[in-house]
Amino acid sequence: MSNIVLERVSKRFGDTLVTDNIDLVIPAGKFTVFVGPSGCGKTTLLRLIAGLEDIDQGRLLIDGADMGQTPPAARGLAMVFQSYALYPHMSVRANLGFALKVAHTPPRDIAARVEAVAKLLDLSALLDRKPAALSGGQRQRVAIGRALVREPKAFLFDEPLSNLDAALRSQMRIEIRRLQQDLGITAIYVTHDQAEAMTMADQIVVFREGRIEQVGAPLEIYRRPTNRFVAGFIGSPCMNFLSGARAAAFGATTIGFRPEHLRLDASGELRGVVRTVEHLGNEALVHVQLEDDTMITARCTEDTALHPGAPIAFTPDPASIHRFDQDNRALDVG
């Protein structure tokens, strides 16, 4: 269990500032998720923490110790790469034991640790195979196992599930989370999938263009986004935004409300026409074109008889309206 602290960390590649003055605390034993759109610097920040890239400015502390001059292996972190990065010419057993072998661990101890990790991850039957003879999910587990064997201070995951199909992804999501909780290990997990962030995280860090937009627990970020970017980025389908007179009525430049906070109401002030309906089985997502041509999305029950072209009207739940000023900052959140 280790905490990781970033102090004013900056990194530039050529002329682009990829991470800009990042201040962040990764609490010990917690699952922290970095989320943000593609190219916002999540991977770069993770690699800075891992030591695979050098920090230009600022400090990185692990358990209070400055890591500026510490090589990657000595930081005690283990990384799980998006591409798994297994050693293709080595068996699963050798892959799992590699870190111990280069650390000159006695062979008997290596065997014991490898067996234990293999058992934990259900890899025992595959120990003599080469990575090429494994399925995607199995490779993923080997990659996690390779990180586990070293008993690291913290896990770093860079989009580890993006190469898996949807079913396997949600299964691995739960497995990774359970493993992390059982071991009580600090974890940083990079994803650009906000659903993954919501379901796995103790703490979410939302990035945009190399800066942190908001840090907080998943529900806190969902319920109290501090700016319009976070409000729009977290949540699926994403928040509806209205501006102009409707927003002015609430004393804001923009107002936002989530699809589930719209109530069907024949006398509601949001009037429009149904354009498309997405049936999800348990609920329907209704895309509505308002009278001023703004598109909004509403979450409705499947029993509502809706079809494209039908007139429709809503009332947003007044308690769940988010207000933003002209700088897109949330007005009600401190």
């Binding site: 292996a73 972190l77 283990a78 990384m79 591409s83 990065a85 050693y87 280069v102 070293r150």
Partner: protein
């Protein structure tokens, strides 16, 4: 095995004179057969000449069959001149310089492929540009330096020159091969605590083995066949097979048949090595072409 014999059985059953003609025509029409013949022609010519007498070897029109086969040339080349000494020098010089080239080239290519700077591309081009200069352009200065440093006609002197000459090619080939290796795998090794040497030797080298083998083979062949420097800076102690072969064209006159026999003897080692690492070579030379 059973599949093989059954298909053999079937084709034998359908083997008609017509099919035979078709088979032949197909083989002759195949452009690669023609190309292979053109490439191999000088070699075949030399092979035939090596079994002829000196007179038959220069006869015009040349005879491809019906001359008296004899091993006299081989006997003379092996018996009356220092073939074994030249062979030994060639092995030491080509082998030594090829190993040295890899020793220098692998770390250089590693740095260019996995830790590039903004100068890497320019550096690669600049290295290759040194190959555009004709060697004779630097013969005099090198000869003078070598004379002063006592490197003329030494194994070390020739090997160093060949290393310098082949290094750009080796680095280019290794660089292209290393580029195909995912950098994340090396980073994983770094995270796992591997030292730089371990990273290169236990992780990178096995993955790039075909590329390493084909690079070694290419530079070994180039060093083995190099004749400009070996002719100009060796006289007796470090004469290689190429200088040895050339000796048959002077000064007592041109001995074509013996020269051919000496050539045949000098390419045998290369053919043997090439044959032994055939499979590695094919996958190494097409590395990246098939994904």
């Amino acid at each position: 095995m059973s599949l093989h014999s059954s298909s053999f059985g079937r084709s034998a059953a359908h083997w008609t004179p017509n099919a035979h003609a078709q088979f032949l025509r197909h083989r002759v029409d195949d452009p690669s057969v023609g190309a292979a013949f053109i490439v191999a022609f000088p070699l075949l010519w030399a092979l035939l000449a090596s079994f002829k007498t000196e007179l038959e070897a220069v006869a015009f029109p040349p005879r491809f069959v019906g001359f008296s086969w004899s091993l006299d040339n081989y006997r003379q080349v092996l018996g009356e001149s220092d073939y074994l000494g030249a062979l030994r020098n060639s092995i030491i010089i080509a082998g030594g310089s090829s190993l040295l080239t890899l020793l220098l080239g692998v770390p250089a290519a590693w740095a260019m492929a996995f830790a590039p700077t903004r100068h890497t591309r320019a550096l690669l081009l600049w290295m290759l540009s040194t190959k555009m200069l004709p060697a004779v352009g630097v013969l005099i200065p090198i000869f003078l330096f070598y004379r002063d440093w006592g490197l003329l006609d030494t194994h070390l002197g020739v090997a160093l020159l060949l290393t310098a000459g082949n290094l750009p090619i080796a680095i280019w080939m290794l660089y292209a091969n290393f580029k195909e290796v995912p950098g994340e795998i090396l980073e994983a090794a770094r995270m796992d605590g591997a030292s730089l040497t371990q990273e290169i030797l236990i992780v990178l080298a096995p993955m790039a083995a075909p590329g390493l083998a084909s690079t070694f083979f290419l530079i070994f062949t180039l060093a083995w066949n190099e004749s400009f420097w070996t002719l100009n800076i060796t006289t007796t102690d470090a004469t290689t097979l190429t200088a040895f072969i050339a000796a048959f064209s002077s000064p007592q006159g041109l001995f074509w048949a013996k020269l051919s026999a000496a050539s045949m003897l000098s390419i045998v080692p290369v053919i043997v090595i090439g044959w032994l690492c055939q499979r590695q070579l094919v996958s190494g030379l097409t590395f990246g072409a098939v994904k």
